[in-house]
């Protein structure tokens, strides 16, 4: 079967849909996992008989290829987005094969970050499926000489009900391929009542492989002739090698040589940190060789960084007037002096520690790089490898493996750049393997943050004036060495958008210089912002002797759309008309979880308490109830968590439940033990012994997730579960113990340690 098929003439939604390439033949490629792409970057979908857009290909045997262009790190996105295509196409899921895309701008954005894969591509995927379906219907109608409007589709086939004619998608594909791809306006999308898969979901296409050890992660990538590299990075951010003695390292069996990697030129962005790579026959030999390196470092100015001092500086700054971010009402007037409540909240640097440490395999050959990487952003791999090696982005082929966790760390491809740089120097494929210690010490940490909260309350304990000021080193500091103020997108994460209906609100931000790389981590700034706002609100509720849920609803006020006219509110990059901030939806999830958890009947006693918090992030509304038990010697357990969410249309409910179950575990780590510290510029943690994350015996025994039935546009689900859980957990600890958690984590809080 060598069908010659020219699809390059087709135009459909320029950009995302444009194929660009002339596809000339169908070739057989063995179905090696989904990474079946050859080095020319073509997918099976590209080679298929009918190929209406870059995401879909239909073969004459009826096989449908759907391209997954986002990275799979456990959210089941590799299944859920193709499922949307399959639904509009009326495809039989059993006959769908998933093609994992390489990094390529023809797919549009591929940065699997910010809980945005479904919401950004939901409409696109529907249109891609509908376009293919439209062409198949047209082809059948022409063949049967009947009006297309009389034809419809059933599972994987076009039917003409009046005559009982029926043709499978495969047999229609060649004819359909001769048609012009329809314009977006010609498409008719299904009604929700007609959905086959959306809202019902499907298990991961990788499920069996994940349970049998066959799934392929970056750690498992292999090329013939490859060598292994382990890199000693400068211990202090921005440090350089003063001198190197590698004689002992070279004596280790299996070690070939060492290679120095240049330090980055500020700003760091995604450049390699620099250091010394030990090249060896296997991972172990590379690790052993590294231990024998003798390196003197020039640590540079960040050598003075001390996280204890830094905390004091942040809190001092938080007590001084800052940059105004948003004000409501008469916030310009002097703050009242009577009945004032103040509190300082603090969250330290946090590390991602995905189970798979950073790892990448790259080969530089004939002026081009082929990389296999567990990356959240293969186009960022193309960009950094291109600039590091001085080659065109198009000459960087980045295959995306499965990711052994990402949480935002794997959006920053410094480790892939390292592999490419080394391969160019060595002239053979190089696999760079980070140790866990490398991962903990050289992360792009979630920002350390100090929040100063202040309210003046009336006789009933309700605020008449509210001031909140946050101070944290911004993520923008990795792109701009002078950046010290919070940038609008991250201030918008639960800070700018305080949803309270109060007569006077003042929201500020103060400056903080970065001394380590700061980066996105699951939920990002929402973690510390929601912690401060939702715990301070709980403080005020208790002070007023009011039920925390009623009090919170009182502060949120009536259902309305928040008005951000004259406020810099990026709204997670989403159009505000499509995704307005609706307090009614937050109220609904609050009421939903209060009902489901039996909040009204919950009795707090000694050593037993319930905490509550609600928060909108990544366009999703979430409310969470946490139950804790605290023994006399201070041991805290979490018998139960209830969390309710409104994420608009949910494509894959089971996957969404799993994300929210996982979010409370992630949040448990934040509250209990999450803390990165530095002394003399050196990160003091190294592995799971001194940077512990939650284990099975430390997490909630039971997490119940309630999903709101909604027809609103789909919103994020990977991250929004974390922030309200963190606050609700701390509020529950207060309910059980009377101790207010204002400094995280518990493990270094003097009230609990």
């Amino acid at each position: 079967m060598n069908q010659i098929e020219n699809v390059s003439r087709r135009r459909f939604l320029k950009g995302v849909f444009g194929t660009g390439a002339l596809i000339l033949s169908v070739r057989y490629i063995p179905p090696l996992w989904a990474q079946s792409q050859s080095t020319d970057g073509q997918t099976e979908a590209d080679r298929a008989t009918l190929h209406p857009n870059v995401f879909v290909g239909i073969q004459q045997d009826g096989t449908i290829y759907i391209v997954a262009h986002r990275s799979e790190m456990g959210t089941v996105i590799r299944t859920s987005l193709p499922l949307v295509v399959a639904d509009e196409l009326d495809a039989d899921w059993k006959r769908v094969k998933i093609d994992q895309a390489i990094g390529d701008k023809r797919y549009g954005d591929q940065n699997t970050d910010g809980s945005q894969s479904v919401r950004r591509f939901y409409n696109t995927m529907r249109e891609c499926g509908a376009a293919a379906r439209w062409m198949l219907i047209q082809a059948a109608a022409q063949q049967w000489n009947v009006p297309a409007s009389d034809c419809s589709t059933e599972l994987h086939a076009v039917v003409h009900k009046a005559t009982g004619k029926r043709a499978g998608y495969g047999e229609l594909a060649p004819e359909a391929a001769r048609l012009t791809v329809p314009q977006k306006e010609q498409l008719q999308l299904k009604q929700p009542s007609e959905w086959r898969y959306i809202g019902k979901g499907m298990t991961s296409v990788d499920l069996e492989q994940l349970c049998t050890g066959k799934a392929m992660y970056g750690m498992d990538a292999h090329m013939d002739g490859m060598v292994y590299a382990s890199i000693e990075h400068p211990p202090v951010y921005g440090g350089k090698i003063k001198s190197l003695d590698d004689q002992e390292a070279l004596k280790v069996a299996g070690v070939h040589q060492t290679i120095s990697i240049d330090p980055f030129k500020p700003p760091a962005a995604f450049q390699p940190l620099g250091g010394v790579a030990v090249i060896a026959d296997n991972t172990w030999a590379a690790f052993q060789g590294r231990k024998k390196l003798k390196i003197a470092w020039d640590n540079g100015p960040n050598e003075s960084y001390d996280s204890v001092e830094y905390k004091k500086e942040l809190q001092d700054t938080a007590h001084k007037p800052g940059r105004l971010i948003r004000s409501v009402g008469d916030a310009e007037k002097a703050f009242p002096t009577a009945n004032v409540v103040e509190a300082d909240y603090y969250v330290p640097l946090l590390s991602h520690v995905p189970m798979e440490p950073m790892v990448a395999l790259a080969e530089f050959k004939d002026g081009k790089v082929t990389a296999w990487a567990p990356t959240q952003n293969p186009q960022a791999v193309q960009a950094i490898v291109s600039s590091e090696l001085g080659i065109a982005k198009e000459d960087v082929i980045c295959h995306v493996t499965l990711l052994g966790g990402g949480f935002g760390r794997k959006s920053k491809p410094d480790y892939v750049a390292e592999a490419a740089v080394l391969s160019k120097k060595l002239g053979r494929p190089v696999k760079v393997v980070w140790t866990r210690e490398d991962d903990v010490k050289f992360d792009y940490y979630n920002a350390v943050a100090a929040m100063y909260m202040k309210a003046a309350v009336d006789a009933k304990g309700k605020p008449t004036a509210w001031l909140q000021r946050s101070v944290f080193p911004p993520i923008t500091s990795i792109f701009d060495v002078n950046a010290v103020y919070g940038d609008p997108p991250h201030l918008a994460q639960g800070w700018t958008d305080l949803p309270y209906d109060l007569p006077s609100i003042r929201i500020e931000n103060g400056p903080a210089p970065a001394h380590v790389r700061i980066g996105w981590l699951r939920s990002v700034a929402n973690i510390y912002h929601a912690f401060a706002v939702q715990c301070f609100t709980d403080e005020l509720a208790h002070r007023a002797n009011r039920d925390p849920v009623e009090y919170l609803l009182d502060l949120i006020g009536p259902p309305r759309t928040l008005d951000f006219a004259n406020v810099n509110y990026p709204n997670y990059g989403a159009d505000y008309k499509t995704y307005p901030w609706e307090t009614g939806r937050l109220r609904s999830v609050i009421q939903m979880v209060a009902d489901k958890s039996g909040w009204a009947k919950k009795k707090t006693g000694k050593g037993h308490g319930f905490g509550f918090a609600a928060h909108r992030s990544f366009l999703t509304y979430v409310a969470t109830v946490v139950e804790v038990e605290v023994t006399d010697d201070g041991e805290i357990t979490i018998p139960r968590v209830d969390t309710a969410l409104d994420a608009g249309v949910v494509v894959n409910p089971e996957a969404v439940r799993a994300q929210f179950e996982g979010a409370v575990v992630f949040g448990t780590s934040v509250v209990r033990t999450g803390e990165i510290t530095a002394k003399n510029g050196v990160i003091q943690q190294s592995n799971f012994n001194d940077y512990p994350v939650a284990r099975i015996n430390e997490v909630p025994a039971q997490t119940n997730v309630y999903i709101t039935e909604s027809s609103a546009p789909p919103a994020g689900v990977g991250e929004p579960g974390v922030p309200p859980f963190v606050a609700a957990f701390c509020n529950a600890i207060f309910a059980a113990t009377g101790k207010r958690v204002r400094d995280l984590p518990l493990s270094s809080n003097s009230l609990f340690a």
């Binding site: 172990w284 990402g406 866990r436 992630f666 099975i696 025994a701």
Partner: protein
């Protein structure tokens, strides 16, 4: 020369006897289902069986597995899925999946000695295996389900 059996196949190893079993299995035998997570027996991603018992291959030197029988995740389902793997699929346990080989191998050894574990017994046996995605609730559920199947 170190002789051992891996997944029923006789093997011999003449390299550095201090090399952890993990890297022998992964880099030399190319059995990559067993994962590297910490290198210090802190996370359990590298769990395999030595003579039927769960061990952390990342801290087990080759010298310690001479004349042993090693079993990895690849062999567990080689002749049809193990009841734990079936339960794992039914409960949809994995998210990223990276830790799951180790979780399953650990759970296999738990069920061998304790076919119907309580929550406490599950916590005790599984506390050495970290899942950063947070699939613990489902792990517990799947272990119980598999335990019931093996009545």
């Amino acid at each position: 020369m170190i002789n051992l059996k891996v997944n029923g196949i006789d093997r011999s190893f003449s390299g550095d006897p201090d090399m952890p079993l993990l890297w022998y299995v992964r880099d030399i035998l190319r059995l990559t289902g067993t994962k590297f997570g910490c290198g210090m027996a802190l996370c359990g991603a590298c769990t395999v069986h030595k003579n039927g018992d769960a061990i952390r291959s990342c801290v087990t030197p080759m010298s310690a597995v001479a004349n042993s029988e090693i079993r990895t995740i690849e062999d567990l389902g080689a002749n049809g899925l193990h009841p734990l793997q079936e339960a794992w699929m039914q409960i949809n346990v994995p998210q990223c999946g990276y830790c799951q080989s180790g979780q399953i191998m650990q759970a296999v050894s738990l069920l061998k000695t304790t076919p119907h574990p309580t929550d406490q017994q599950i916590d005790d046996a599984m506390a050495g295996n970290i899942c950063r995605c947070g699939t613990y609730q489902r792990i517990r559920h799947a272990i119980k389900m598999a335990g019931e199947k093996t009545v």
